[in-house]
Every structure is written in structure tokens, then in C-alpha cells.
């Protein structure tokens, strides 16, 4: 209970927290583009610098930011190892049968690892500083053009926000059911794979039942209040662009431009 509170959101008041979610989403896309446009370490350094500024301005503790990286440790290590051994370069430093470590390989893996880390940290900064509700609002607003081709944007946003809303509820529920079964002597830790999978059944069945029950109740409650989709609906919190968003917009633009310039004038790392 209460262990997973609201996804990843870290509730403090900061410049980054106040930026319009639409702009944050666009900025993330721009940032990803910039990372992939960067051909050399100068470009990545520029990206890293911008990210560092974001982290500092967001007032999210550094430990929390690094925790996001921990989740991809395996991916990062795997990429690094594969590239170190299999990248074919000219300056061979060490070789054994088909394995080969080259200077270019080392540089290239360092480059890739840096890329992945920047990518992960930047996307987690989005979820750290934006509430799930604001995020879905932003996505709905950004997808508005699709409404012209009759794509049900509003329904999609609703599905997303309900799903997000239910994550803490269901994780609470899981905790409760798990505790109840533990109190009846259920053992989730020991035993082999088969035993562990079987041990999940007493949690899964009550959890599924409760999820269906909740979905039913929510549907009824929405019907009872005459929910009709997005026809004639107004928003409680209207999204508006402010001077903060202008700054973020220009930083994003400048980043892409800068990376392109660095790419053209300074060339590849290897």
C-alpha cells in the first residue's frame, strides 16, 4: 500500500514542472531527433548540457534521476559489450579468433551508451515533471489534427487517462490481496519457476475479478452522469502557452540547429 504512489511523478514546484505538457512532449521529440542527428561527441555534449540544465531546473533529486537509468543497465551493458567486440575498425588493440577490440569500437560503444543514457534520462524527466493527467491532456491536444480524419482522439485520451488512473488503484489492490494471501501462509519468494508461477494464481484471480468489477462500476457511473464523449465538453484546466514555453521552444530549436551545425563542421567521431 502507498508504495507506488503516482507512477513516477515527483511533486515539486519548478520551472520545468510548469511548462505546458504539449511543449514538453514536442521538446522530447526534438531532443530525440537531436540525439540521433548528433554525429560526434560535441553534439552529444550539447545534448547532455541541455539535459543537465533541465535536471537542475526541475529540482528532481539526482538520485531519483539516476534510478531511471538503473532500469536499463542490462540494455546498456549488452549494447556496449556487443559493440566493443564486434565493431570492425582499423586500429586493432586486442584480438582472439573472431573477437576483436578496436580503438574505433571502443569509441563507438561509448557513443552509443551515451546516446541511450541521454534518451532514457530525458524521457524519464518528462514523467518525473508531468502528472499523468497533464500528459494525456497534452497528447489529446497534440493529436487534435487527427480528429479531421475522424480518428477518435478523445476516446483514445480517455482510455489512456483511465488506464493511468487505475495503475495506483490496482497496485494498491495487488498489495492488499498479496498481504491477505501471505497471511494465509502463501509463499511467493521460495521455490522454482513452476512453483512461483502457481503461487501467483491466488493473487491474479481476485485481482482480475476486482479489475472487471471496477471497470463495470466506472462504466455505470459514467452512464449515470450521461457521459457522451467529447461533444460539448469544456476543459477545467485549459492549456495555455506562456513565456516558459517560449523559452523551452527556443532551447529545443537551438539544440537541433546547434547539433546540425556541429555535425556538418566537425564530422564523425570515428
Amino acid at each position: 500500500m502507498k508504495e507506488v504512489a503516482f507512477g513516477q511523478y515527483y511533486p515539486v514546484d519548478s520551472f520545468i514542472h510548469k511548462v505546458d505538457p504539449r511543449l514538453k512532449l514536442l521538446f522530447l521529440i526534438a531532443y530525440i531527433v537531436a540525439i540521433f542527428l548528433a554525429k560526434n561527441f560535441y553534439g552529444l555534449a550539447a545534448c547532455a548540457g541541455v539535459l543537465l540544465a533541465i535536471v537542475l531546473f526541475s529540482r528532481v533529486p539526482l538520485g531519483k534521476v539516476l534510478r531511471a537509468v538503473r532500469g536499463v543497465t542490462f540494455l546498456v551493458l549488452f549494447t556496449a559489450v556487443i559493440n566493443v567486440f564486434f565493431y570492425r575498425g582499423d586500429t586493432v588493440l586486442w584480438g582472439w579468433k573472431f573477437l576483436q577490440i578496436t580503438r574505433e569500437g571502443l569509441i563507438f560503444s561509448a557513443f552509443l551508451v551515451l546516446r541511450i543514457l541521454l534518451l532514457v534520462v530525458c524521457s524519464s524527466m518528462l514523467t518525473y515533471t508531468t502528472t499523468p493527467v497533464a500528459l494525456t491532456d497534452g497528447i489529446e491536444s497534440l493529436l487534435t489534427p487527427l480528429k479531421w480524419v475522424r480518428f477518435p482522439v478523445h476516446v483514445l485520451a480517455l482510455v489512456m487517462s483511465i488506464a493511468l488512473r487505475f495503475i495506483p488503484i490496482l497496485s494498491d489492490e495487488t498489495e492488499r490481496i498479496k498481504n491477505a494471501q501471505k497471511a494465509r501462509g502463501a509463499d511467493f519468494e521460495s521455490g522454482g519457476l513452476v512453483k512461483k508461477v502457481r503461487a501467483v494464481v491466488p493473487i491474479l484471480i481476485p485481482l482480475l475479478l476486482s479489475a472487471f468489477r471496477r471497470a463495470d462500476e466506472l462504466g455505470d457511473a459514467m452512464d449515470a452522469r450521461c457521459y457522451m464523449g467529447d461533444k460539448h465538453r469544456t476543459k477545467y484546466k485549459k492549456l495555455r502557452f506562456t513565456w516558459r514555453d517560449a523559452i523551452v521552444f527556443f532551447v529545443g530549436g537551438a539544440l537541433i540547429a546547434g547539433v546540425v551545425v556541429l555535425r556538418v563542421y566537425l564530422g564523425a567521431p570515428v
Binding site: M1, K2, E3, A5, Y10, P11, V12, R176, I177, N179, A180, Q181, K182, A183, R184, G185, A186, D187, V201, P202, I203, L204, I205, P206, L209, S210
Partner: protein, 300 residues
Amino acid sequence: MRIVAEHLSYTYNPRSPFAVRALDDVCLTVEEGEFFGIIGHTGSGKSTFVQHLNGLIRTPASLKRRKRKQASPVQTLTVGEFDLTDKKTDFRALRKSVGMVFQYPEYQLFAETVKEDVAFGYKNFADKKPTDAEIGLAVNEALSIVGLDPNEVAGKSPFDLSGGQKRRVAIAGVIVSKPEILILDEPAAGLDPLGKREIMELLHRIHGAWCKTVVIVSHDMDEIAENCTRAAVFAEGRVKYCLPPRELFKMTDELLALGLDIPLTAKICLALKKRGIEIDCDFTTEDFIAKTLALKGGVK
């Protein structure tokens, strides 16, 4: 088995913006054989406290460090011979001795038949694999004591039963391992008056015969007044009072100030007192009626 808690504190999500201090220096002793009540507001820490009692929530590991420094009073929590602040405690044995019925326990049912569901706890706690006959016997006994007919319900799916029956099955699933202490979190919540009364009667059947000690968490003051030998009032993570109902419900103003209710009998006593009639009862309906009837002659 006695339950002894001293200076027990617990914080959810420590050192984060979500930190909630749920227990704050709780000192409480429950003697063997009691029918103990725990009352308090939502969020007063009562559920957190009872979850400590069978090790579902454990006092954090930093405890040992604090023990050495002696900066704050040493937290201790023992249930019988189990020391719950010790990491090496056998929690399986503990959970066998301390049964725990959660709020709305019917939502934890999962098996295909009632028999299988009730047998779940029995099988988990058995020292060696029990035979089918042993399981059948234990299940039948547990179902009978919660007031269900084993021949009728044992083969049914638990999801085909009524709400009250489901709850009894869930309680049977906990008491089947014959715990010495039975803890129930809001056992009668969401039931109709008859269902509530039946659950309380069932608890009295269990108390003594099956489980030496019963601890209930409740919002219903009538329930506490009628059944409990003692009751503890939780507020903001602390134990405010711990008294027999007879004395507890005399403190009407204090309880109301905490946002709690008082039993119906106490309300009537209060109203009568305003009109100059003093009744000294222990706030059970039976005693209240007896005392009131004895008074009858004296009232104009």
C-alpha cells in the same frame, strides 16, 4: 500469547515527498484471552498497526542502528515468543499463530470450490503434506464454526455464494489453521444489520474455543461496546486511550472531539443525563435495559 508493542513507529515512503507517518510511538499491550477492540478514524494508523502484528509490515532495518545509538526509545514488538523486530523471526510460524482477516476478505477468494479455498491456508501451514481426510476434516470443522453447512457449500464455487456467505468462507479460510490470535479488520463492514449480528456471534463462538485472543478493528462503536473487553483509540498514529468500554464511553466529549462516534446506549445515557437521570451501565444493550427497567419506578 501476549501482544506487546512499545514505542512502535512507522512511516510510509520515508524520505520522500510522499512520506506519511502512520504510527508514532505506539505503546500497547493485549493480554491473552482478550476480545480487544481498536477504534479510530480512517488514516489513524489502526490498519498499519494490525498489519505489524503478523509481520506483513516490518519495522525498518535501520532499527538496529538506532538501537545502538540509543537516540530514540527502542522500538519493540513481540507477539508471544516472537520478536517481530528481529529479522530472523520465523514469519511463517508467526502467521500460523496470528490469523489475519482483512477488510472485505471475500475479495481474496480465488479457488474453484469453497473447500479448496478454505484448505489453502491449512495446506500452506501444515508441517508435512496433509492427507485428503485431514484436509476434509479441518475444512468441515472451520465451515461449521462460521455457521455454514459443509455438505451444502463445500463443493460450490465461492463466487456463487451471497455476500455474507462469502465473508464467512473467507473467515473460515483464515481460522482453519487454528491461530491463537485472530485479527479482523472491519469484519462487519458493508453487511446488513442481521449479517453484522451473525458475524459478531460467530466471533464469540470462535473466541475461546478456537482462538484465545480476538482483536477487531471497527468503526462501529456499538460493536465495540457490546463485545470487547478493552478497546484502544487510535488518533494520528498514536494510542489516545486504552480502556474497557465501560470507562471509555464515559469520555463522550473526548471521543466526539476526535471525530468518533459513541454507542447508542451512551447517547441515550447522555440525553437522559441532561434531564437529570443518571444511569451507570457498561454500555451493553443488555445491561442498559436492565438498569433502565430497574429505574422505571423512580421516574415520573
